[in-house]
């Protein structure tokens, strides 16, 4: 195995290469700025690897085709932005309830609606969690560099396969279109979905009780097993089931399978937090401003650290609570009106002040805006 060398590339390019490195071989999507480079590159790269690309009639169909292809055993992905992500919400629920692994890249742009069509934002944090109706858990990861675009896309596929779930890669225009060096190394680990080992007639695609991580094995269409995938209320076999106790069991499962595996799913990165009296907690493109602000503040003698939320959902409450306990104040820069800050507030003790730095004018938050808040706090 040759070691790959560093290349200079756009985030969207690294996302595509990450998907291919993870073993994805099917893409269905509908073009939308700022995600289209993922579709364009996938249309060239997938057939080179024997995979398949199809441009669907809309994003409703795109995510449906992705789910269908995954049920047929092929790792699948799509990429979109705001308006397209909104259209995907209904069938995202099919992937949740049908427990079909897939990866949805949302390169966030300004909203609501068509918004400032090509401009960056980080406003889909809550939509990623609650966009599709009903109670359920979800996994969302947010890259802050081109390297993370590559690494987290691979991780997104691994988590999708391991937990039989859609995983959202919550990127943003700044990271998707930014160019910097990254290394498309061979993945340390590639996880494939668990396949059944039982006798054919005993196979039940939704019988999670007693399984490792509470995840039932998934046989692909065309295997020696009969697989019944169902987005309506169903029993362990995938048969329609209107029993209320059954609904209770499964809806709790869509939530609890993430809660029980929080330690494995959640990833955060800490910078200079050991002696910190103040913390910056942020994600995605705003991490870059946060890191620059950290440096400036440290030069001025303010003891600041930074917690990067790599996993956005399930939300890293424990990790955030620990930092809030330690410091006197937390600054949360985000290109929305406080979606992450609201989650932090849930676990922030009274002794810790909480400030948001919020922009929705599609301008990146500057390090100086963060610095000003830290200086004000430290006086």
């Amino acid at each position: 195995m040759t070691l790959k060398k560093n290349i200079f590339a756009m985030g969207n390019e690294a996302i595509t290469e990450g998907a291919l490195a993870a073993g994805a071989r099917f893409y269905a999507g509908y073009p939308i700025t700022p995600s289209s480079e993922i579709a364009e590159r996938s249309s060239i790269r997938l057939p080179q690897l024997g995979g398949m690309f199809v441009q669907m009639e809309d994003e409703i169909g795109s995510i449906a085709a992705v789910i269908g292809a995954s049920a047929a055993g092929v790792k699948s992905y799509t990429a979109t932005s705001g308006p397209g992500f909104s259209l995907m919400q209904e069938n995202l629920g099919v992937a949740v309830m049908g427990e079909i692994p897939c990866v949805i890249v949302n390169v966030q742009r300004s909203g609501p609606s068509t918004g400032l069509a090509t401009k960056p934002a980080q406003g889909d944090v809550m939509q990623a969690k609650w966009g599709t109706h009903g109670d359920h858990g979800i996994i969302a990861l947010s890259p802050s560099s081109v390297q993370e675009c590559y690494d987290l896309t691979i991780r997104a596929f691994n988590l999708a396969e391991l937990y039989r779930t859609p995983v959202i890669l919550l990127a943003d225009e700044i990271i998707g279109h930014m160019r910097e060096g990254y290394c498309p190394h061979l993945p340390k680990e590639i996880i494939e979905r668990k396949k059944p080992l039982c006798a054919n007639r005993d196979y039940k695609p939704y019988d999670f009780c007693g399984e490792e991580n509470e995840i039932a094995p998934l046989a692909a269409f065309g295997s020696e097993y009969i697989t019944r995938i169902n987005g309506s209320g169903h029993d362990e076999s995938g048969n329609a089931c209107g029993r209320l106790d059954n609904a209770d069991k499964f809806i709790r499962h869509y939530h609890e399978k993430f809660q029980k595996n929080r330690d494995d799913i959640i990833e955060t990165k800490s910078f200079d937090l050991q002696d910190a009296e103040y913390a910056i907690i942020t994600f995605g493109c705003s991490v870059r401003s946060g890191k620059a602000a950290l440096k400036l503040a440290r030069q001025k003698g303010i003891k600041v650290g930074l917690l990067q939320l790599v996993t956005i959902w399930p939300f890293p409450y424990e990790q955030v609570a620990k930092i809030c306990e330690q410091v006197q104040g937390v600054v949360v820069p985000e290109m929305n009106l406080g979606q992450i800050q609201g989650e932090i507030r849930k676990v922030c003790p009274t002794h810790c002040s909480l400030w948001g730095i919020n922009r929705v004018d599609s301008q990146m938050i500057t390090p100086y805006e963060i610095l000003a808040k830290l200086e004000e706090a430290a006086i």
């Binding site: 269908g68 047929a72 049908g98 269409f221 065309g222 019944r228």
Partner: protein, 274 residues
């Protein structure tokens, strides 16, 4: 194979009302599977949401029960990911050509190798008999109490115009024609559509003075003509007629086959797919 092998008889009785056309269509489908000796493991029945969309509850093959109107889009992914699978898509007129109209025309145009069996009962059975994109002008439905002011689609013509290589129409009281067309559709490489006109006595029938399935089928029969007869009639005479039979049967390379040439070109470093 025996057609009963494809039926989940343990889940009978069927959920559908007495006089509903769905049971007969399901019968024709499993008979076609049996005639073609389909392996259950290599067959996927994809359904939408509606009364007809519950048909997957009763088959023993693989199944995929998704969302209202999106069955063809799910089926597209299933078929493209594994071309060895026989992918059969069951949709109502609401599913197929109303909420799912966009997927319908594009699946036909794209020529994905799946067989769509669309049961047209001229209304939304499941939700209480509201009008759909195929409801005829002047019909009474739960949401057109003064008479429907829109024209309904001719579903077969829509599929033909969109490029479907195989399109046939029959009614649920003609089991032989259903089986013949479904078998032909399953054998067809490319997108095939079989529209089955079926009674919904509970809503469409009741709302329009046709209390039982026989009355409804009489109404259908009165409007039905064969493809051969249709050739002898002019446009005016054909208005409001239902042409029954195989309306189109042509050869057109399907998306999956074409795409394998894209793969070959990409792997050989060519930019043309000759």
């Amino acid at each position: 194979m025996n057609y009963m092998d494809y039926l989940k008889t343990q889940d009978f009785p069927l959920f559908w009302c007495g006089g509903c056309g769905n049971g007969a269509v399901l019968g024709a489908i499993v008979r076609s599977f049996a005639a073609l000796c389909y392996s259950k493991e290599e067959t996927v029945v994809v359904t939408g949401i509606g009364c007809w969309g519950k048909a997957d509850d009763y088959v023993t093959t693989n199944s995929f029960h998704g969302t209202h109107g999106r069955a063809l889009a799910f089926a597209t992914g299933i078929k493209l990911a594994n071309p060895k699978l026989q992918v059969v898509v069951l949709m109502g007129d609401g599913d197929g050509v109303t909420i799912g109209g966009n997927h319908f025309i594009h699946a036909a145009r794209r020529n994905v190798d799946v067989t769509a069996i669309l049961v047209n009962n001229y209304n939304y059975g499941m939700t209480g008999g509201q009008y759909s994109g195929s409801t005829p002008l002047n019909s009474i439905t739960s949401t057109s109490r003064y008479g429907h002011i829109e024209e309904g689609f001719d579903i077969c013509q829509l599929a033909i115009a969109a490029g479907a290589p195989f399109v046939a129409r029959t009614s649920s009281d003609d089991p032989l024609a259903m089986q013949r067309f479904i078998t032909a559709g399953l054998n067809k490489k490319g997108f095939s559509l079989i529209e089955v006109i079926a009674p919904c006595p509970t809503h469409f029938g009741k709302n329009n003075g046709m209390r039982n399935a026989a009355d409804l089928m009489k109404w259908v029969k009165e409007r039905s003509i064969s493809v051969a007869r249709a050739h002898t009639m002019n446009e005016e005479e054909l208005a409001l007629k239902l042409i029954m039979g195989i309306l189109t049967d042509t050869e057109r390379e399907d998306y999956g086959s074409k795409y394998s040439r894209v793969i070959a070109a990409a792997q050989e470093g060519r930019r043309d797919i000759k």
